[in-house]
Each structure stands twice: as structure tokens, then as C-alpha cells.
């Protein structure tokens, strides 16, 4: 089986020297942080050629995170996908419950190499924050996680997990109080703390070298899956699908298939209430090129270039931008990106629970919804590989509200994300679980 470190070996699909994927990527950021990202880039270049670093990464990914993750043939789910074979890459089974640990272990090791003692991170759903808090505990690093106040409420379980792991969680109360504002605060912290702090950026976005480096740490997903599918079925999948917020799990599973011309790559973006309503987070489907948080890419912006507020039931996809390599792949047509609404994602969430006994993260439920759609299009001879990027324990409260499976009186009082009636109460029973 492919080891985690083989994702760092270099590919034929690299950005230029200064981190550009075509017109996207680069560094749109304060001069004060350029020295820091230069240091990260230089250290990463050394580390990825250092056998000791690679061996340590492999050891952690195997003995600590539990790699390789299995591929599950989802036969009962497949009945709802036009009979196509649906294979789930089980990143939900990694330690901490999502793919995020792949990147975090790599960057935490890099932090130690750089002699820094403190890490900061932004988080939306809390999966990246939990993974960062975990790695910080493991390596004895101080850890501060910035999280939008809205997200600390809807992902309260992950806030508790981070605090149990010894991290400080800072609720961000500026702007839309979600993931983009958490990124702003993390950058503000880093400008003032860069001497002893590494910013463990959680997705394949931001300034060079993050899009490339984070992608490399996640390439293990696709490398493993490609080998697993070939070994079990003697063929490549017809399509590889993933949810796309910032796009780290998607680029991780897509990348090793880029040269397999017959394999369709499809990313599913969070369409919230529907792209046409304006209440969504589908940056490629509904956005345009611009610079945000360090890179040029697609983003959701108004006529003046102000970042738009986004909406998704999934905190981890509720972000107005996307990694620059996805923008490049979208323009080139090598990958396509389609929207999935809150309602479609939640239907898929329920279906996966009931057919396979797997409670997915709501982020990953967008990929499941996309696979169902694609399966019906491609038919029973098709094989679809889905990145099941995370598990749904953190989303039980949101899902319970959505489906009205518990008495709303018994839940905390913050605004319910599910359907509400005129009095603001959860319209229980409207959706059947």
C-alpha cells in the first residue's frame, strides 16, 4: 500500500515557482507575512526530501491516524444511485474523524522542524480545529483555534473536543461570524506572532505554498484509493467525487487521477437554499475570480469586490472562496463543479445512515448527494468513487433539528438551521427520517 509520504514526491501538475496555477494562486497578502511563508516553503521543500521526516510522517499516519483508510462498497446505497457501484473512501475512520488529520500531522511536524512552539488554526465545522488541537497535544505545542461565533454554536461538540485537548478556542464575532472571519482573525494573530507561531492553514487555499503543500499531504487519499480500487476491481473508477468548500479533501482524492483521462472528476459545492437564491456557498458555480485570504481564485463577491455572506447548512463548506488549483481545474475543464443544496445533502445524509449504517459529516453528505445524481446519469455499469471525508457525530444536533427527531424544547435555544415555522420553532415532522 502506498504510504502517506508518497504524496509529497512531486507530480507533473505543479504550480510555478511562485505558486501560480495558471492565473490563480500566488500571494496576495501583507509583506509582513512574506518572510514567514517563504520560510514555510523552504522548510517544506527540505522536509519532503528528508527520509527522516517522511518516515516520521508515515509512522504517525499509520500508527496514530490509522491509515490506510478502507474503501467500502456501498451496495444498499447504490440501489438509489441508478445501480452504479458506489465506493466510499473512508476518511471518516481516521483518528479525529475526518481527512483533516492528514494535513495537520504534516504541518505539525513541519512546525517542530522550524523550531516554533505555537500553532494557530481557523476552523469552520471544527474538524480542522480538532485535528490541529490533537496534533498540538501530541507534539506539545501551544494551540489557539479561531472559530466564527455562529460555528461555535452549531458545532458545539467540536468546541468541547478542542478544549478537552488543551486548545484555546477563540469565538470570532466580526463580520459574518463564520469561517472567513475566523481566517481573518488567524491572519491577524499570525502577523503579530510569526516569530514563534506557525499557522496551520486547514485547506488547500491561501498563499503559496499552502495550496500545494496541503494538497500533497492529502494526496495519500487518492493514491491509496486508486490502488485499492484497482486491486479489488481490476479497473479505475468512472468518476471520482468529493465535496468542495476550500477543497482540500477534493484535491487530495482528485490529484492522483489527473492523468487518468477516462476518469471524471466532479466536485460538489454547497448550494445552500439554491444558487439562484443567493443564499449559498458555491464559489465556482456562482462566483468570479478575485483575491481573498492570500490567493487569486474564484470567490463570491459583489460588484465592488466585497466578499459576500455565504450560507450552507454545513459549517465546513460555508466559505466564499475555493483553493486555486480547483479554479484552474474548473477553467481547464479537467474537473467539473456542481451545486448541491442543503435539502439534497440532508436527504443523502439520511439515506447513507439508513442504507449503510454510516452517519456522514454534512460536508461529506454533499458528495454522497452528488454521487447519487451522477450514478443515475451514468447507469448500472458505472463505478463511482466518493470521498467520505468525515463522520457526522458533530452534526447530530443539526441533523436532529433538520429532521425533527427530537423535541425542539429539549435542544439548546440558538437559531435552528432546519426549517422553521413563523414562530421560529422547528417544524418537526415536516421531514421524515
Amino acid at each position: 500500500m502506498t504510504s502517506a509520504s508518497s504524496g509529497l514526491a512531486g507530480t507533473t501538475h505543479e504550480p510555478d515557482e511562485t505558486g501560480h496555477f495558471g492565473p490563480y494562486g500566488g500571494r496576495y497578502m501583507p509583506e509582513a507575512l512574506i518572510a514567514a511563508v517563504d520560510e514555510v516553503a523552504a522548510e517544506y521543500e527540505k522536509a519532503r526530501r528528508d527520509p527522516e521526516f517522511l518516515a516520521e510522517l508515515d509512522r504517525l499516519q499509520r500508527d496514530y491516524a490509522g491509515r490506510p483508510s478502507p474503501v467500502t462498497d456501498a451496495r444498499r446505497l447504490a440501489e438509489h444511485a441508478g445501480g452504479a457501484r458506489v465506493l466510499l473512501k473512508r476518511e471518516d475512520l481516521n483518528h479525529t474523524g475526518s481527512h483533516k488529520i492528514n494535513n495537520v500531522l504534516g504541518q505539525a511536524l513541519l512546525t517542530r522542524r522550524m523550531g516554533k512552539t505555537r500553532v494557530i488554526a481557523e476552523t469552520g465545522a471544527g474538524q480542522h480545529g480538532v485535528a490541529t488541537a490533537t496534533a498540538a497535544a501530541l507534539m506539545g505545542l501551544e494551540c489557539v483555534v479561531y472559530m466564527g461565533e455562529v460555528d461555535t454554536e452549531r458545532q458545539a461538540l467540536n468546541v468541547a473536543r478542542m478544549r478537552l485537548l488543551g486548545a484555546e478556542v477563540v469565538p470570532v464575532t466580526t463580520g459574518s461570524r463564520t469561517l472567513k472571519d475566523a481566517l481573518n482573525e488567524a491572519y491577524r494573530d499570525w502577523v503579530a506572532s510569526v516569530g514563534h507561531t506557525h499557522y496551520i492553514l486547514g485547506t488547500a487555499a491561501g498563499p503559496h505554498p499552502f495550496p500545494r503543500m496541503v494538497r500533497d499531504f492529502h494526496r495519500v487519499i487518492g493514491l491509496e484509493a486508486r490502488e485499492q480500487v484497482l486491486a479489488a476491481y481490476g479497473r479505475l473508477p468512472d468518476a471520482v467525487v468529493a465535496c468542495v468548500g476550500g477543497g482540500s479533501n477534493a484535491i487530495g482524492i482528485f490529484h492522483p487521477f489527473l492523468d487518468d483521462e477516462g476518469v471524471r472528476l466532479v466536485g460538489f459545492e454547497a448550494a445552500g437554499d439554491g444558487v439562484e437564491t443567493g443564499r449559498h456557498a458555491a464559489s465556482i458555480t456562482g462566483g468570479s475570480p478575485g483575491a481573498l485570504h492570500g490567493a487569486m481564485s474564484y470567490l463570491l463577491q459583489d460588484a465592488d469586490g466585497q466578499t459576500l455572506e455565504t450560507h450552507s447548512i454545513s459549517a465546513g463548506l460555508d466559505y466564499p472562496g475555493v483553493g486555486p488549483e480547483h479554479a484552474f481545474l474548473a477553467d481547464s475543464g479537467r474537473a467539473t463543479y456542481e451545486p448541491v443544496t442543503d435539502a439534497e445533502a440532508m436527504d443523502a445524509f439520511r439515506l447513507l445512515c439508513r442504507t449503510e449504517g454510516i452517519i456522514p459529516a454534512i460536508e461529506s453528505a454533499h458528495a454522497i448527494a452528488g454521487a447519487l445524481r451522477l450514478g443515475r446519469e451514468l447507469g448500472p455499469d458505472a463505478t463511482i468513487l466518493v470521498n467520505l471525508s468525515g463522520r457526522g457525530d458533530k452534526d447530530v444536533d443539526t441533523a436532529a433539528r433538520w429532521f425533527g427527531v427530537v423535541d425542539p424544547e429539549s435542544l439548546p435555544t440558538e437559531a435552528p438551521p432546519g426549517p422553521v415555522d413563523a414562530d421560529g420553532a422547528v417544524a418537526s415532522g415536516e421531514r421524515e427520517l
Partner: protein, 293 residues
Amino acid sequence: MTTTGNTTTGNTAAGNTTAGNTTAGSTATGIDRLGEVFTRAKAEDRAALIGYLPAGYPTVKGSLGLLTQVLDAGADLVEVGLPYSDPVLDGPVVQHAVETALRAGVRVRDTLEVVEQLAARGGRAVVMTYWNPVLRYGVDAFARDLANAGGLGVITPDLVPDEAAGWLAAADREGLAPIFLVAPSSTDERIAATTAATRGFLYAASTMGVTGARDAVSDTASVLVTRARAHTDLPIGVGLGVRNGAQAGEVAGFADGVIVGSALVSAAEHGRAAVARLTTELAAGVRGQHTGR
């Protein structure tokens, strides 16, 4: 107390062919007129005072009045902030002001309008803007419209020369000064490259951190100015953290320009008189006449 200037010129700067560089009654470029700010201050053996306030705070008309006040009370140049939704290099004071301006519906063209009104009164102004609003407006169009409005240059907190080829060409064409930042963390190599791309004056960030008034100006500021002087003859303005006359005097001891932002924004919360008082104190500070605080 001063007036807000001519607020009846309703149209935006876009497409305006009458104001332009002729506002000053000469054909001097923005870069030339920016240079004069520092030449004059130097002739008076002092540093220039540069004041920042965002356009649209508390309203577009209100911001014009406040910026006019800053110029009338002794600032040599103003930085007109272009409000942006994600100001990663700004601390809480500027964030709050900018959020207020955006909630009130300020547009990019309002910033150009404020610049035009200031220039029409003979005021000297540059724009401070994060880069995405300019990208969205169109880099060439923004440069053209700012030059036509009588603006002198643009400070770009999240655009480094490495990504600025298009902007440098447009600025050069319009005679606008591209004003880049250097920071205490900048390597000598980067200081050299940044100063080579900069016109008008170099913006030296006094400390590693976001904007905001601080009790003491960091020692790193003078070190950075000394390092930058090894690479350039450009005037050097120091910003981030200056809040009173004493600090302005201290910075004036080693820099060509003293840049004050958050402290003025805080004063603006208390109205024009407070802005005038602080500016007067700062203007005395850059002349070595501060009363000591």
C-alpha cells in the same frame, strides 16, 4: 470649523475629464505632487504628517468633512481608506469603522468621490485599499479614475510587488505612486525589491501586527527605517501605532513621514473637534513642538 467643500458635484470621478491633474493648476503627476509633500516638510526641517480615515465613516459626507478637517488642522497628506469586507491587516478600531461604512452602503466610487472633493480644495490624498476591490473595478479603470479625481497614489496593504505587474504598468501610465509596505520581517533582498517598485514614499510598518494605537512606538521602527535607507532615497513614512504628539515627535526624529490612522478613527467617533485637536497635536509633534504627554 470648516466646510465639507463642494458637495454638489454629484457625479462620480468615473469618466470625469475636467478635474484630473489640472485640479492643482499644473500638469504635475501624482508622483510629483506627492514628492512635493516631503520636499516641503524637509525644507522646514520636519517630518510630514499623514492622516488616515476611511471613506464613508460615519457617512460619505461625514468622512469628507473629517478628512478636510485633518488637512486643515495641519496634515500634509491624507490616506483615504477604501472600505473592504476582509481587512486582515487592520485592528478592531479600523475594522469597526469600515464595517459601519459598509453597512451604510459605501461604494468604491464614493472613495473616488471623496478624493475628488479633497483634491478640488487643493488637498493632497492617496487611497489605501486592499486589492480585491481594485481587481473587481478593473486595475486600469481604477488607476484612470483615481488620477482623474486628482489622487496621488495608492497604498496596498495586501499587494506586494511580486503580484503587481498590471498595477505598476497602470500606475506608471497615470502618474500615480504605487506605495508598498516594508515590515520588520522583510529581508534585505525584499526591501530592495520593494523599494525599487515603490514611488512617492515607502510605507514602513513600525511593528509586527495589525493597525491600532499603541502605548509605545516599537524600537523596531527606527531599525527598519535605517535598513530601508540603505536601499533607497525615497522618503520613508512610518505607520502603525502612533497615537499622540509625543510619539509623532519621536517617529519624526528618524522618519520622513508620520502616519496616523487608528487614533484618528477613534477621535472621529467623538466628532470633528476631536479630530482637529488630535491633528493639531500631531502636527506640533512632527515639528518637534509637542507638549509632552
